[in-house]
Symmetry: C2
Subunit: 165 residues, 2 copies
C-alpha cells in the first residue's frame, strides 16, 4: 500500500483530545475509547510523544498524560517526526544499481535530490498546522453538527467538557 502509517493520525487525535479535555484524566483507556483502539496502542504512541517532549506521563492512581507544550506550539510536523521513524519518504533501489552503467551509476543521486524536494514540500505543509489549528477545526465541526453544544472554542476553557464516547 505504501502509505504513511495511521500512527500520525492517531497521535494527532491523542494530542487534540488532551488539549480539549484537560479536565479529565487523560488515561490510555479513555483515549483509546475515543480513538477506538487498544490502550496499549495509545501508550506506544504516547511513549513516542513523551520521547519527543510533547507530553508528560504519570503512572499510578489518578495518573495519565499532560501536554508539555501549548497546543499552538506543536506542529503536525513535530508529530510526524515523533511517531514516524527517520527514514526518507521515498525508497531508492532495493539493491544498488549497476555502477558501471551511465544510468545506474548516477541515477540514485539525481533521484535523491528530487525525492528530497518532494518530501520537504510535504513537510512544510505539516509544519504550518498545529494541534490548536486541528482542535479548533474539529470543534467547529462539532458545533456545526449540533451534537456537542457544550464545547468551547478555547482549548484551555474546555476543561469541563464531559467525555461521551
Amino acid at each position: 500500500m505504501s502509505t504513511i502509517s495511521s500512527r500520525v493520525a492517531v497521535a494527532v487525535h491523542v494530542l487534540a483530545y488532551m488539549a480539549w479535555k484537560r479536565g479529565e484524566a487523560a488515561t490510555s483507556e479513555r483515549i483509546a475509547a475515543s480513538v477506538n483502539t487498544n490502550p496499549v496502542v495509545v501508550r506506544r504512541i504516547m511513549g513516542a510523544l513523551r520521547n519527543a517532549g510533547m507530553v508528560t506521563v504519570q503512572p499510578g492512581v489518578g495518573g495519565g498524560a499532560q501536554l508539555a507544550r501549548e497546543p499552538g506550539e506543536i506542529t503536525l510536523l513535530d508529530v510526524y517526526g515523533a511517531v514516524e521513524d527517520g527514514d526518507d519518504l521515498f525508497s531508492l533501489h532495493p539493491q544498488p544499481p549497476a555502477r558501471d552503467c551511465s544510468i545506474g551509476g548516477n541515477i540514485q543521486a539525481v533521484l535523491q535530490g528530487v525525492f528530497c524536494q518532494a518530501e520537504r514540500a510535504m513537510r512544510e505543509v505539516l509544519a504550518g498546522v498545529t494541534i490548536e489549528t486541528v482542535g479548533r477545526e474539529v470543534m467547529g465541526r462539532a458545533r456545526a453538527a449540533g451534537c456537542c453544544g457544550a464545547d468551547e472554542a478555547d482549548p484551555a476553557a474546555a476543561a469541563h467538557e464531559v467525555y461521551s464516547g
Copy 2:
C-alpha cells in the same frame, strides 16, 4: 518503515534508460542488469507503465519496450501514479474513531484536509520533473565523473551509446 516503495525509483530508472539508450533493444533482461534486479521485476513495472500509456512493448525475437511519449512529456508524477496504487499517502485511523465523541466524530474530516494538502504539495514537486530532466542530470553527472565520455546530452542522439553494465 512507512515509505513509498522503490517501484517509483525503478520505474524512473527504466524510463531514463529507454530514453537514453534508444539504439539497443530495451529488453527486460538488459534493463534488469542496469537496475540490478530480476527481469520479472522489470516486466511487472513495465506492465504498469504500459497500462499508463507511457511505453509500448513487443514480444518475440528482437522485441522489447519503447517509449510511447517524449521524455519531456513524462513527469515523475505520471510515473508515481502509474506504479503506486491509488491510496492516499497518509492513512487515517485503522478503525473509525468514536462517533459520539466531539474529537472522534470530527477529526478524520479535518485530518483528511490537512493530509490532502500535504500530499498535493508533494505531487506538485513530482509534476515539475520529467524523465528528460532526470536523464539530463544523470548524464551530466556521468560526464562529470569522467567515466562515460561518449554520452550525449540529447536523449535522441544517444542512440549509439553502448551499454556497459
